[in-house]
């Protein structure tokens, strides 16, 4: 049994300007000890998926489908039951560590909080344990400071410590390297990988950066406009993209010459009919604008494209 399985997960936000279909029919699964990367342009719904798994979406979101974690559907749990899973079984690392910490509490108090609320141990021993972890990360003394006194990179490490302090089985990292300067990127990734391996967790790694995905993930899911368009082993997918969007995404990376994908990102309120990528696709056929291609499974690779049927 997989650790996590999403079955036709759809998320719709109701906003004053209409219904935003931020995720449509997303299906994927994650095994124990596996790392799955989710990549795609900004606004394609990566964070929405992450937050939907943890049920962190705001009230204007309506979610359908199911999120099966170790046999139970998280979407059916009560808020109390869900709270027991968050932070303990499933943890998340956000992309903006400085804003993710509460500005008026000390780092140490915030890192030890999961211990306090999930294990019910004394405040004193929780702080002790958190202090030990900070030391191991080379952040001695930083625990007594406030988030605004730390650099972005230090806050990032502190947040990774905080999210992994209870050795969760599933770690979600939502663009953990965004906003860090180049030297820090590898250090942060290294830290996440080591945390993953130490606690034997599975990892969902959301990123813009295909290199990051390539170096750190077993499998990859490529998202476009709320849909998964291609999924498979990372080397396979990035080495030999089957979907025109994956190909275009690869070509837009800086080391590949930085060629931007032609056309505009589509509206999520009224996405294009048929294949959502067809207005920007170089291989467009007649059927593409009429009918939505299914996610076609063939030997460990799924592709949503009429060319691959």
């Amino acid at each position: 049994m997989s650790l996590l399985e999403l079955r036709s997960l759809s998320v719709t936000f109701s906003t004053p300007s209409g219904f935003v279909k931020a995720a449509s029919d997303v299906a994927m699964s994650l095994e124990e000890h596996e790392t799955l990367a989710i990549v795609g342009e900004t606004g394609c719904g990566k964070s929405v998926i992450a937050n939907a798994i943890m049920r962190l979406l705001p009230e204007n979101a309506s979610i359908t489908g199911s999120v099966i974690y170790r046999g139970m559907d998280l979407l059916k749990l009560s808020e109390r039951e869900m709270a027991r899973i968050r932070g303990r079984e499933i943890s998340i690392i956000f992309q903006n560590p400085s804003a993710a910490f509460n500005p008026v509490h000390r780092i140490l108090d915030q890192i030890s909080e999961p211990l306090l609320i999930h294990l019910g141990i004394s405040k004193h021993s929780a702080i002790d344990e958190a202090e030990g972890i900070l030391c191991a990360l080379g952040l001695n003394g930083a625990g007594r400071l406030y988030p605004f006194q730390l650099s972005g990179g230090m806050n990032q490490r502190a947040m990774i410590a905080c999210s992994s302090i209870l050795r969760p089985r599933l770690l979600i990292a939502d663009e953990p390297t965004k906003g860090l300067d180049h030297g820090m990127v590898n250090a942060a990734l290294e830290l996440i990988r080591s945390v993953r391996d130490e606690s034997g967790a599975s990892l969902i790694l959301i990123t813009h950066d295909l290199d990051v995905a390539l170096s750190s993930s077993d499998r990859i899911a490529v998202m476009y406009c709320g849909e998964i368009v291609e999924m498979g082993k990372t080397e396979d997918v990035l080495g030999d993209p089957a979907h025109p969007y994956t190909e275009a995404l690869r070509e837009s990376m800086p080391d590949r010459g930085f060629r931007p994908i032609p056309g505009n990102t589509p509206s999520m309120v009224s996405p294009p009919a048929g294949c959502r990528f067809h207005p920007r696709c170089a291989f467009k056929m007649n059927i593409c604008s009429r009918e939505r291609p299914p996610l076609n499974n063939s030997c460990e690779r799924s592709v949503r494209c009429w060319r691959c049927i």
Binding site: N51, R88, I92, P103, Y146
Partner: protein, 308 residues
């Protein structure tokens, strides 16, 4: 930096107090003594000289400051008393009905406001409507209505005054209705501010992260959101202090209590300008003090300010 701000404010307000009677239409001496004074001409000349009104403005200004330094706020011919002791004596009573409500109102208003801003429910909407109505009603009208109902119709509370016999129980019986009204009035203002502040605060990422750590609703509100949301309102509440205090003045008038409110009311009736100005000065001083206190509290609660 902030200290300079308060000192400058104080200086400007005291100078304003000097300028007002001299800038207003009418005879400066009348403006300084009040219209309740009838003097014959020779006496007028004498007093005019004594008050230095024939000196150049610059010297009058220096004299004014000397008086302020000696805590001399002038003399009320109507009340036959120096202004400062008169004001302070009345202030005691006004503080009796406004200080407890300030605290009750702050606690009640921020708590209920935080809950209402955090989660919208049928109950919180009703609550907001009630506080909104209190917020929108002039305090004296609220006082009139409740005095009519609880004093006039039901006879539960006395119609006027601070006391008849002077025992503690008697005083409490007299002030209970004004105190409740003031508490509601002050709570309604804190409620609206806190509710808005929490609504804004709950969009923050740290709230989402707290939820992701496994805290549930009430824990997030009270461990994380409350303090952040309360920070801006500390300053706002201090600035609102003058307004709430003014509410107390009006409520006193309705209940015919011999506090500051009634002092101002009679001073107005007899155009007793020294008392009016003295009252204004003392109230302003209290507001400035409230702001200083708020600054200190803010500094304690917000590490970002403390760090500097």
């Amino acid at each position: 930096m902030n200290l300079a701000r308060y000192v400058i404010s104080l200086f400007v307000i005291l100078s304003l107090n000097f300028a007002i009677p001299r800038a207003m239409p009418g005879d400066t001496m009348t403006n300084l003594l009040g219209e309740d004074v009838i003097l014959d001409d020779t006496l007028v000349q004498e007093i005019r000289r004594e008050m230095g009104l024939d000196l150049p403005l610059r010297e009058q200004y220096l004299m004014y400051w000397k008086d302020i330094m000696h805590l001399n706020l002038g003399y009320s011919y109507h009340f036959h008393s120096p202004v400062l002791p008169l004001v302070l004596e009345r202030m005691k009573w006004t503080l009796l009905i406004s200080a407890p409500p300030l605290i009750v109102g702050a606690v009640l208003g921020t708590l209920l406001g935080a809950l209402a801003g955090w989660r919208e429910s049928m109950r919180s909407r009703l609550q907001t409507l009630i506080f909104l109505i209190i917020y929108s009603t002039p305090p004296y009208f609220l006082a009139l209505m409740s005095l009519y109902i609880f004093g006039f119709q039901l006879g539960w509370v006395p119609m006027k005054g601070f006391y008849t016999t002077g025992s503690a129980g008697n005083i409490i019986h007299h002030i209970i209705l004004p105190v409740v009204l003031m508490s509601l009035f002050s709570a309604s203002r804190n409620y609206m501010i806190m509710r808005g502040s929490v609504i804004q605060e709950r969009q923050m990422l740290y709230v989402l992260y707290a939820r992701a750590k496994g805290l549930y609703d009430s824990q997030i509100l009270f461990r994380h959101v409350f303090r952040n949301a309360a920070l801006p309102i500390i300053t706002l509440v201090a600035l609102d202090f003058g307004f709430i205090f003014s509410g107390a003045l009006f409520i006193e008038m309705v209940f015919s209590m011999r506090g500051m409110g009634n002092l101002i009311y009679s001073a107005l009736l007899y155009r007793d300008y020294p008392v009016l100005q003295g009252s204004f000065l003392v109230i302003t001083l209290m507001v400035i003090t409230a702001n200083v206190v708020a600054d200190v509290i803010y500094g304690i609660l917000d590490p970002r300010v403390r760090g500097r």
